[in-house]
């Protein structure tokens, strides 16, 4: 019997090595796998390259990982936010490297890695600073940049529900980078509210097929849900 359910958070992240490239799902706080990140902090791996849309919010999750000094480099589209003070301080102190990638190119580069595409031509960024050092090419009268795939050793993502084969469904805009990162990492680790019985997820509505998922950690329902239905919260987590 296939079961991708992990014994727990610590077990799920136990073999992440120093120097790994780690994709972390989420857009801001929505879909950010904070509990897996906390487990990674406790596990101790360091010298990490983190791929996420942002560079942490407040002092939890990715921000805490950066604050703990575990991150050598961030690859993201938008590090500077109102609450990115931990990254900001490290960056100004020259203690962290930044590779800035426009958001759509970031998503497409991750998608390319998962889909076995060796590189692609994108119109985004042509004629701008992000084009510096990149090959350009005119195709059918339009100018494009060559962008290469972004792979990772590990992806940490957050989904809504899983089954024991690792099939995933997400909730609303917390889906964001999850399905892309799941396919682009050698090992994909997912935190979910619940692992349901095999067959309980409608095959028409599975967003990430289990083939992309290695380990699943169920964490229980979040406080703003009741029996899977939204009941309301006071603020964006």
């Amino acid at each position: 019997m296939i079961s991708k359910t992990s014994a727990g958070l610590a077990d799920a992240v136990s073999d992440i090595r120093d120097g790994s490239t780690v994709m972390i799902g989420g857009f801001g706080r929505a879909g950010q796998p904070v509990e897996l990140i906390d487990a990674l902090i406790a596990q101790g791996a360091t010298d990490l390259t983190v791929i996420n849309n942002n560079a942490g919010n407040g002092d939890t999750g990715i921000a805490a990982l950066i604050g703990a000094g575990r991150v050598r480099k961030v690859i993201c589209s938008f590090p500077r936010q109102t609450d990115s003070y931990i990254f900001d301080a490290k960056y100004r102190a020259g203690e962290i490297e930044l590779e800035l990638v426009p958001q759509g190119n970031l998503a497409e580069r991750i998608r390319a890695a998962g889909a076995g595409i060796g590189g692609f031509y994108t119109p985004t960024g042509v004629g701008t600073l992000v084009a510096e050092g990149k090959e350009t090419r005119t195709i059918d009268g339009r100018e494009y940049l060559l962008e290469l795939p972004l792979r990772a050793d590990v992806a940490l993502i957050s989904a809504f529900k899983a089954d024991r084969w690792g099939n995933l469904v997400y909730r609303k805009t917390a889906r964001n980078f999850g399905p892309l990162m799941a396919a682009a990492a050698a090992t994909t680790i997912v935190q979910v509210d619940e692992v349901v019985e095999l067959g309980d997820l409608d095959p028409e509505t599975v967003v990430t097929p289990g083939i992309f998922v290695d380990r699943v950690v169920p964490l229980g329902e979040r406080p703003w849900l009741a029996a899977g239905e939204f009941v309301g919260a006071e603020k964006v987590a």
Binding site: S77, R92, R175
Partner: protein, 245 residues
Amino acid sequence: MTGIDRDTLAARIARDIPEGAVVNLGIGAPTLIANYLPDDLEIILHTENGMLGMGPAPAPGRIDPDLINAGKQPVTELPGAAYFHHADSFGMMRGGHLDVCVLGAFQVSERGDLANWHTGAPDAIPAVGGAMDLAIGAKDVYVMTDLLTRDGTSKLVAECSYPLTGVGCVSRIYTDRAVFDVTPDGLAVSDVFGDTTLDELRELTGLTLTDQRPEAATPLATRHFSPENGAGRAEIDGSRGGNTP
């Protein structure tokens, strides 16, 4: 009165968005436009973090942390909404499927180059987000901005001095003083607000501006997206194809 305030400008832009249009409103001032879209018209809002059919902010106590917009503010979903992942969302933009995108600007050149992500200041932490994708991500890219910076210099320029977001991507610029269309011959004024005059605009911007106001000789450029037709009757030769108008 030398111009109009930001809310009036938002309402003015909203008036130009036809029913059936799929629209992305950039972070900042452009989000105000949503407040002025008429209730009796169906206009579909896209947020690049993975949703079409975005609704207004939720009631207090109804904030869903899984449901946010590109500015990371809580939003709601309307009937007819759809969720998708980031690659699909940016494919929608890059593939030219959005009708209108409205963005803020530091500078816009008379050829439609846009600078809105980076002042180039040496101590600034660069952060581009979806700006470059948005800049090329709609059939019409509109800019909403004050004509002048706080220190009185024109944001409409012959050449952008700030780092570019996109090259030749802007089709129309809505400012507090006037509306400008980007044409092969430079900027054309299609509307002025308050007691603003063409000569004043020419002086403030230092640019050659042509007059395309309805009362002027040249008529307003015809819209290529007609609300009466509805998206379901779009002509076959390209109303959904390509990024350039």
